[in-house]
Subunit: 333 residues, 2 copies
Amino acid sequence: MDVTIYEVARRAGVSIATVSRALRGTGPVAAKTRERVLKAVEELNFTPSRLGVSLAEGRHAANGIVFPDLAGPYYTQVLLGYEEVASELGRSVVILSTKGRTRDVHALVKDLAGRVDGMLVFGHTVPGALVAELVGVGMPLVFVSREPLAGADTLRSENTASARALATHLLGHGYRRYAFLGAPLTTGDDVDERWQGVRSVLGGAIEAVPISHYTVEHGYEAALPLLRSRNRPEAVICSDDEVALGALLAAEELGLAVPGDVAVTGWDDIMAARHARPALTTIRQPMRELGARAARALDELITGARTTPQHLVLTTELVFRASCGHHPQEEPQ
Amino acid sequence: MDVTIYEVARRAGVSIATVSRALRGTGPVAAKTRERVLKAVEELNFTPSRLGVSLAEGRHAANGIVFPDLAGPYYTQVLLGYEEVASELGRSVVILSTKGRTRDVHALVKDLAGRVDGMLVFGHTVPGALVAELVGVGMPLVFVSREPLAGADTLRSENTASARALATHLLGHGYRRYAFLGAPLTTGDDVDERWQGVRSVLGGAIEAVPISHYTVEHGYEAALPLLRSRNRPEAVICSDDEVALGALLAAEELGLAVPGDVAVTGWDDIMAARHARPALTTIRQPMRELGARAARALDELITGARTTPQHLVLTTELVFRASCGHHPQEEPQ
DNA sequence: GGCTTTTCTGTAAGCGCTTTCATCGAATGG
DNA sequence: CCATTCGATGAAAGCGCTTACAGAAAAGCC
């Protein structure tokens, strides 16, 4: 964009103040004047510079979002809901993927902070010190998938109760030996809660198998030795669907039938969970709604409609499909 | 952020010009002075306002991206590659999802244009008039998945040749009756090229089945009547993997064996394609690289390293899996 | 007609930075 | 020792807008 408010003003024969007023509808402008201004705007194809407006208004009309990676469907879905609502509220969305790097996260996040009025941060992607700093300068913040912290909103799906329900359900199938594939990398995040939940039910019957990334590949890599071992678990509870898909691949490669030889469950209910064969039993998380809610919460914080932090937990839903074993009562979906 | 360059200057006992120079390393600054400045910066925890910098520099250090929706893995993957490279080049990424709305796209895109130095636009998400307008004001533009147009870069995956190869391969299986599920919605986009490609080989043996959205749901809905019909096609070539997954679901529901009763193929090689059962035969498109290349191309355009538009076509790869029938020579992947 | 309101419009002061230009002292060279 | 150059710094002009503030014109009211 090139043409400025000055040119419009000159062309319409008024001052820039009048142009501004005519365009934003703030303050009175005579009908004829407004008309002249609008005509000039039209002719010059003028669009106010976002930079100028933001600088003068002192706000960006933009939201930030920080996620570790966009590789999986989980973050995508949340982003989707977030962008949708943000855009509804007249805000742009600036994204930042940390991609596991920790070195320049500080600089990147600070840069982002300089471009937005508030941001959504996933789990523990941003180091504590930085979080404190952001909270310190009053940057509106909503965290998704982490334990509550002071000075910012947090928003997450219910994990513990659904984990218990899942574990209980599997016990009902009669399985004795369990593994939790994808042990928590950070305490206080979703996976940690899931692990705590299932362990509280299964106790010593479940073994934690760590992996470094919650991906299909890593799930597969870790599942191979696990399923090969002499004392193979009868049921593998995975930290999320992608890990579970990896486990499914490993089982297939080893010639093991799922759920006949080993049951597998996931978490999140991503698209592939439904299409996998056997289809994955999983716990559906309202991913889009997580994003949408975050955007609204942020808006409240930014506009000042709410000043005290809020900590929300959304409910989840167990989705029984074929991968956890045959159910007399439930039909696989 | 609150503290300005003025406060730093005052604290360090220098002018704001010196602070700026010390911080950006432009122009000479005495070692002692720099030290004082840096100390003040440190103590006040100063970060230059992005707005101020951008306004003065006349650039945003940000890229935009316009996509129809983020629901499917395709756009996500491209976005992933785009963000990665953009961030490498020191640019933020501002996203805009048009979600099928056409009404306010104009305003939204213009707003986006005011926030970035250049943008990636998918297919025909932005109406022609607006495109012309953007090209007119010199906004650097890269289009992904559409036919070349004047004044902007275009970038796409090869479609026609791979479509022919796929069709030829299926002919080799001996199939006689074909359907193309997900007929093109727009001429000149990827799907259109795919359709043209397969038709050029299969001629009258293939029938176009239109759907309104390239999604699992719509694929499923359209596949049901198609597979139920008396003259059921022996092979269903789908416009993309998601549509193909829908077709798979429909076949399953009708009790049809894939590929025994009907062969199904997809396009893109999204994650779920590999995990579906039967696994999908598909054409792999380098989605992340598409995004990465777009970011680099945009950078060249923005920095002025290149001024003439460029039209790139990336190569694709046929991925044979179980869904298209049994292969004597190739092992399913 | 004179006075008070309203309505309309312009002036100008920011918003936070970068960068040109000018200045000034010190270093260099003959 | 003087002329020249160079290094270091500050003043100030933008960048494009919003918005008090104030002035002028129009309108309303006895």
